[in-house]
């Protein structure tokens, strides 16, 4: 079965066509340009290049975050419109899971990071690139190092755009830290598509209408409201 996947959780806008175990086509932009202007032309161009008809696609996949709130919503609204229009199932995949999947087989602890600003990163710990240990988090470098130690996780390899934001701090806390090459580890739609195929086979589709991004952080207004409530 062919899957069309969308990744727009960060500055990256990427779309891919995959089949079990194979990336057939992929388009990738990391130029901080507006995802809303780029995403659908990327899909249209890729389908044209691949000489592919929509009828050949069996699954839509989308990266659900964490990441940029706006980027995630553009990607998910686009995926919902396509899935609804084409009558296809939709599968959402956690962005961090998809990133770690790209390093499946690594012998250490794979730590995908997404820039969360304020010197923090969204992230997760994966053993062998597959099995997540502990919860997803949004933490600074020091706390990430402490968390790794608490969980007894060794030999971390960091990847993703969160590395750009806190690389110096990570290297300082963890002299043993490894950093994956950006050539292989930016978040890509191909990882989202391949992982979605695996999960769709196991779990089936997601609720097309109800699916919404994994924000991890509450919005500023919700945080303020909570604070105000706590003071009363």
């Amino acid at each position: 079965m062919k899957v069309l996947s969308i990744e727009s959780a960060t500055n990256v806008a990427s779309v891919a066509l995959c089949e079990e175990g194979m990336v057939q086509a992929e388009r990738f932009l990391n130029i901080r340009k507006n995802h809303s202007e780029k995403l659908l032309p990327l899909i249209d161009g890729m389908l044209a290049d691949a000489d592919m008809d929509a009828e050949e696609i069996g699954l839509l996949a989308v990266s659900v975050g964490p990441g940029s709130f706006t980027g995630l919503r553009i990607g998910m609204a686009t995926a919902k419109g396509l899935a609804y229009g084409w009558d296809l199932p939709l599968k959402g995949v956690n962005t961090l899971d998809a990133m770690a999947y790209a390093l499946r087989g690594d012998l250490g602890t794979v730590v995908p990071l997404i820039n969360a600003r304020r010197k923090e990163a969204f992230g997760g710990f994966f053993v062998g690139g597959d099995e997540r240990v502990g919860d997803y988090f949004v933490l600074n470098a020091q706390s990430i190092a402490e968390r790794l130690q608490e969980l007894g996780l060794m030999n971390p390899i960091f990847m993703g755009d969160g590395v750009h934001a806190i690389r110096a701090e990570l290297a300082e806390c963890m002299p043993e830290a490894r950093f994956a090459s950006p050539a292989s580890v930016d978040n890509r739609a191909a990882s989202v598509g391949l992982l979605a195929l695996e999960r769709y086979a196991l779990e089936g589709e997601d609720d097309l209408k109800g699916l919404s991004p994994t924000y991890i952080r509450a919005s500023q207004a919700e945080q303020n409201l909570k604070k105000a409530g706590a003071h009363e």
């Binding site: 202007e37 659908l40 249209d44 919503r73 609204a77 609804y84 097309l208 919404s212 207004a221």
Partner: protein, 339 residues
């Protein structure tokens, strides 16, 4: 595409209402589903853009499907899609624009981008299909206050607009300082019903020949009035303040609209936007316009608030003019109105 679409699905997500509508031949509302977020935003005392965007994404497809089911239309039978692309909250607009683009692409039908204000104006044509151009259209809402000379489909010019707060914004802010809650328009209107106009608030007419508005001075003088009376330990009658404020704001709206109608020699004035459902405004307008032989029209209440039917009505004519979006259509948070 320069043919007018028979069956059109429209989407509106520019602020705090998620709405989808099916419009037949530009005039018949087959469905107009509106999912309001007001209850959520009331917790915060106003619209929170980030929360609005999240809710739109959670609701939009459900609302689209309800609109299709209610209209008894299969999505494969649609000829055209329409969406509000601005002005509005950019994150909220992006949900509608992204979904409309990909749905139109998947269904292989054209997408018409619609200016939100134009939608409000066209709401009048849904409620009054036989109205004749030219018109003066006064748009009064949370985001806009404009007097527009509307000559025909695709032909209009802005005579004047607000230089600071929109009228609806002034309503919301004054309602907040009066402790009347959100949204402010209906709350002020309710309070004003039992209040007396016994406080003289300023009327900002600006330059003698100007059709522009300024409501920030009025808002400030309400705040000053409350402040001064509180300091002097004097009682404040909320209803009187609401009434006096509302009268001051409306007088300028009504007088400028009347002057525009006379200058352009139109026989009809149309009210549009959320504040157009204010009964007092309609009454004041009628009182001034009818003796001059000018007819006042306004949309039915459900078409005054943000809704997708009005977007679909506007899109019907835009489609006829070939105004179709490309795959790179983006949301535009602020953009002047055009034909």
């Amino acid at each position: 595409m320069t043919e007018k679409p028979k069956l059109l699905l429209a989407l509106e997500t520019s602020c705090d209402e998620t709405s989808a509508a099916v419009i037949e031949n530009g005039r018949i509302i087959r469905s107009n589903v509106i999912s309001s977020q007001i209850a959520i935003h009331q917790l915060y005392g106003g619209v929170v853009p980030e929360i609005a965007s999240r809710k739109h994404l959670e609701n939009v497809l459900e609302v689209v499907e309800m609109a299709l089911v209610e209209a008894g239309v299969d999505k494969k039978d649609l000829d055209c899609l329409a969406v509000t692309y601005g002005p509005g909250l950019v994150g909220a607009l992006l949900v509608g624009v992204s979904l409309a683009k990909s749905l139109a692409y998947a269904l292989k039908i054209p997408l018409v981008p619609v200016h939100h204000l134009l939608g409000h104006m066209y709401a009048n044509l849904l409620s009054h299909p036989d109205v004749e151009f030219p018109l003066i259209c006064t748009v009064v809402s949370g985001g806009h206050t404009s007097i527009i000379y509307w000559e025909d489909h695709g032909k209009m010019s802005i005579l004047g607009q607000t230089r600071d707060d929109a009228a609806g914004e002034a309503f919301d802010k004054v309602a907040r300082v009066l402790g009347l809650g959100y949204p402010g328009g209906p709350e002020i209107e309710k309070a004003a019903l039992v209040g007396a106009e016994n406080i003289k608030f300023p009327r900002a007419y600006l330059e003698a020949d100007s059709y522009d508005f300024s409501f920030s001075g009025l808002k400030s003088s309400v705040i000053n009035y409350l402040h001064k009376n509180k300091q002097n330990g004097q009682d404040i009658v909320v209803e009187d303040v609401a009434r006096s404020f509302q009268e001051a704001l409306m007088e300028v709206l009504v007088e400028k609209t009347l002057r525009a109608a006379k200058e352009k020699k139109v026989r009809t004035v149309a009210l549009a936007g959320g504040v157009a459902s204010n009964q007092a405004l309609r009454l004041r307008m009628k009182e001034r316009l009818e003796p001059e032989g000018i007819q006042l029209i306004f949309p039915e209440p459900v078409l005054c608030t943000d809704n997708a039917a009005m977007i679909g009505a506007a899109a019907y004519y835009l489609a006829g003019q070939g105004k179709v979006a490309g795959l790179d259509l983006n949301a535009v948070p602020s953009i002047p109105i055009h034909g």
